[in-house]
């Protein structure tokens, strides 16, 4: 299926085998006691993005989880070579595994009090172009049910890049930006409705945090107009997905995949990849 797109989405490596990077990832996960969900899916993502991947998790990739049903997630393995794996040591704060979240692919369910952390170091700096991709499905959106799906550090002291979804305004909104720089949001009750799968791309051109025009955002493959957002909490926390502790903001959603790339030039490839994998988008 992927190979028909003409974008190199088929399996890589000689004769359709696995890439050395894929084999290294699988070996690392298995040596740590984790499991690999879909080897072909891992290989495809690594083939397309390995040269640009700063950080990335996919739920059909490598993870570790508790036995039982629901099965709670203890670790999600970073696809990038820096190995910033997501983990959660506190049992009550672990999200759980969902077999079919979006397009037949698994996800992890955050249901109001869960989050996972992936270190404290800066993933991007203030002049780093990037693309931040997220595939998720809101399960509940309320005035205090905020979805801080990724907090990406920068080189600034209070630097933190946020994405969230909320009904804090009159609309269901998806917001993003930096605590001391541009803060934008998209207002759209249809795109961000409960149980509606969404993939979003935040694009930054690397020419200054404080310029709104340096950001762009796409939802399901379409560039969407943004408006200015309000203030962000400036407390510097660990890199995390799921919630922002200092403000009691929680995520209630299912996440399938998050990728952070060191380029803003791969939007067409990203959209083709997401549509082929999850079955929706432009």
């Amino acid at each position: 299926m992927f190979g028909k797109l003409g974008l190199g989405l088929g399996l890589g490596g000689g004769g359709g085998g696995l890439l050395p990077e894929t084999n290294a990832y699988i070996a690392r996960v298995q040596a740590d006691g984790g499991i690999i969900g879909d080897v072909k899916s891992v290989n495809t993502a690594i083939k397309l993005f390995k040269d640009n991947l700063i950080w990335g998790i996919m739920i059909d990739g490598g993870l570790a989880r508790e036995a039982g049903s629901p099965s709670y997630i203890t670790k999600i393995y970073d696809l990038a070579t820096a190995s910033r794996d997501c983990s959660q040591a506190t049992p009550a704060a672990r999200p759980f595994y969902v077999e079919n979240a979006i397009g037949g692919k698994p996800g992890i369910r955050f249901s109001g009090a869960q989050f996972m952390e992936f270190g404290n170091d800066n993933l991007i700096n203030s002049t780093q172009p990037f693309s931040l991709i997220m595939v998720f499905k809101p399960k509940a959106i309320g005035a205090t049910t905020y979805g801080h799906t990724a907090c990406i550090r920068t080189e600034l002291d209070t630097g933190m890049f946020l994405n969230y979804i909320t009904t804090a305004s009159a609309y269901k909104i998806w917001g993003f930006g930096h605590v001391t720089g541009a803060r934008l949001r998209i207002d759209n009750d249809t795109l961000f409705a409960v149980d509606t799968p969404v993939h979003t791309i935040t694009i930054y051109n690397g020419e200054g945090w404080n310029t709104v025009g340096n950001y762009a955002a796409a939802v399901n493959g379409n560039v969407i107009a943004t408006t200015g957002a309000g203030s962000f909490a400036s407390t510097k926390l660990s890199n995390r997905i799921g919630f922002l502790n200092s403000s009691n903001h929680y995520l209630n959603a299912e996440i399938c995949e998050i990728l952070l790339l060191n380029t803003n030039t791969l939007t067409a490839t990203i959209n083709a990849y997401l549509k082929a994998k999850y079955g929706f988008g432009a």
Partner: protein, 70 residues
């Protein structure tokens, strides 16, 4: 589901109970819980705990209001 506790003593006791219930090496929940809008301490309850916890059980929680709007 979530459990709501009037004070830290009740919350800590429930947290210890959950640790023993699941046979965990670490405490089940955070030692610094969030508050709901009425100031009660909130603990997320896995399904196995819902019928064995001696506390107020709710499906969702309205947390304390915060200053920022992100």
């Amino acid at each position: 589901m979530f459990g709501l506790f009037e004070n830290m003593k009740a919350y800590n006791a429930a947290n210890q109970f959950a640790k023993d219930f699941f046979g965990l090496d670490v405490l089940y929940a955070s030692e610094t819980p969030m508050h709901d809008k009425h100031g009660k301490y909130v603990m997320y309850l896995r399904p196995e705990l819902v019928n064995v916890m001696d506390c107020e059980i709710v499906e969702s929680v309205e947390y304390e209001e915060t200053e920022d709007d992100n």
